[in-house]
């Protein structure tokens, strides 16, 4: 047994499970540097410019996604459902940390958005500032902010509509 292997055996370090979709990285320091501004894209339900995350004075649902992430497509269903139910009562933004360029264009992101029935604000976070601020170690990752801008709830992995409703209602009630 060589040195490296001996150390591996001793340490047994850092094995990660393989059957779940999610990285359970543990949510680190939360809320650092929030709110931040993200660039927004011209797409269904969204216009080019920038947006404050979380939005000012309303409950905000933040969804972190990427176009290569299959569960993120599924996440869009729950988000769309909730969006229809709450309308303008709740602000919603989906943000990708993918860097535009190379073989990924804004058109590709827009296509993904259309294909998955996005109809709310679509943002870009190429430096992963928002991911860092939320302490997100995986995607999909959904966070619910109250109207005062505090994170009330967040979780990595797929979130269903029922959970989202519960957390949004709580944030609305306690605002």
């Amino acid at each position: 047994m060589n040195r490296r292997r001996a150390l591996l055996a001793l340490g047994g370090f850092g094995l990660t499970g393989a059957s779940a979709w999610v990285l359970q990285n543990g949510v680190g320091e939360t809320g650092d540097g929030l709110p931040i501004r993200v660039e927004t894209m011209d797409a269904p339900g969204s216009s080019a410019g920038n947006a404050r995350v979380p939005a000012d004075g309303t409950v905000t649902v933040v969804d972190l996604f990427a176009t290569w992430c299959a569960p993120c497509e599924e996440q869009m269903h729950a988000l769309g459902t909730v969006r229809e139910e709450y309308g303008d009562e709740v602000s919603m933004v989906s943000v990708t940390n993918e860097r535009m360029g190379g073989s990924l264009t804004r058109g590709d992101v827009r296509d993904w958005w259309r294909d998955n029935d996005g109809e709310w604000t679509l943002g870009l976070d190429p430096a992963s500032d928002l991911m860092s601020a939320l302490g997100a170690g995986s995607i999909p990752h959904v966070a619910v902010f109250d109207a005062a801008g505090e994170v009330r709830w967040q979780e990595g992995g797929l979130t269903d509509a029922a959970t989202l409703r519960t957390e949004i209602d709580r944030a609305l009630r306690e605002q």
Binding site: W21, G102, S103
Partner: protein
């Protein structure tokens, strides 16, 4: 004068012994082989104590095939800054995040005009399933630009070779698992991404399942020649 030229000059005129006395001129906390300083570590350990090639150590002396280019690359002979990580394409959890971070760095290199100064070596530890065709499809799925010329998927020839290279040489442990809810095998594995300088020394070993692409971009900028 860049670091390597400086060192060449220093060595050529026999100044090597005096370098220790003027480390202020060099980064790397006195280690002449690396540019970045010793990383802050959570535990009090030196690079020699760690089960993987760490700061200041030479990248393992291994050669691994590049299926999409019909060649084999010797990791020590790469003469530019490079990033090496380990993955398998059927992975649903850690690997797409590792590859996505690397892809975002590749895109930064393309956008900022330094694509030819850096090379990316994502290395599979699942050679049974990850072949050239699979790599092509995976690159497409992950929006990797394989035409850029700086992205090179590596594939050890066999399962045994993968153990020898990935686990024993790079300290990235992986164990095959048979999840009950899936009809295929997966792996439990650790996550490491290495930043290697143009001289073949490890500048950083990022032990993260979701590497901070901006941090790596910044470290990369410091060591690019």
């Amino acid at each position: 004068m860049n670091r390597r030229d400086y060192l060449r000059t220093a060595t050529a005129v026999g100044l090597a012994g005096s370098v220790a006395g003027c480390t202020g001129l060099l980064d790397g906390d006195g280690n002449p082989n690396v540019t970045l300083g010793e990383p802050d570590r959570e535990v009090d350990a030196s690079s020699e104590d760690l089960p993987y090639p760490a700061w200041g150590q030479k990248v393992p002396d291994v050669s691994v095939p590049v299926p999409l280019e019909d060649r084999t690359v010797s990791l020590r002979s790469i003469d530019k800054a490079s990033l090496v990580t380990f993955f398998y394409s059927h992975c649903n959890t850690v690997c797409p995040v590792l590859i996505s971070a690397m892809r975002n760095i590749q895109t930064h290199s393309l956008n900022e005009g330094y694509a030819d100064e850096v090379a990316f070596f994502p290395t599979t530890f699942d050679p049974a399933r990850d072949d050239a065709d699979r790599f092509r499809a995976y690159a497409d799925e992950m929006n990797v630009d394989t035409d850029a010329g700086n992205w090179h998927f590596l594939r050890p020839e066999s399962k045994d070779r993968a153990k020898a290279v990935v686990q024993e040489q790079f300290g990235v442990r992986f164990d095959r698992t048979e999840p009950e809810d899936m009809d295929m095998y997966m792996f439990a594995h650790s996550a490491l991404t290495f930043l290697v300088n143009a001289d073949g020394y490890v500048e950083r070993a990022y032990r993260s399942k979701s590497p901070d692409a901006d941090q790596i971009i910044s470290d990369l900028e410091d060591i690019r020649t």
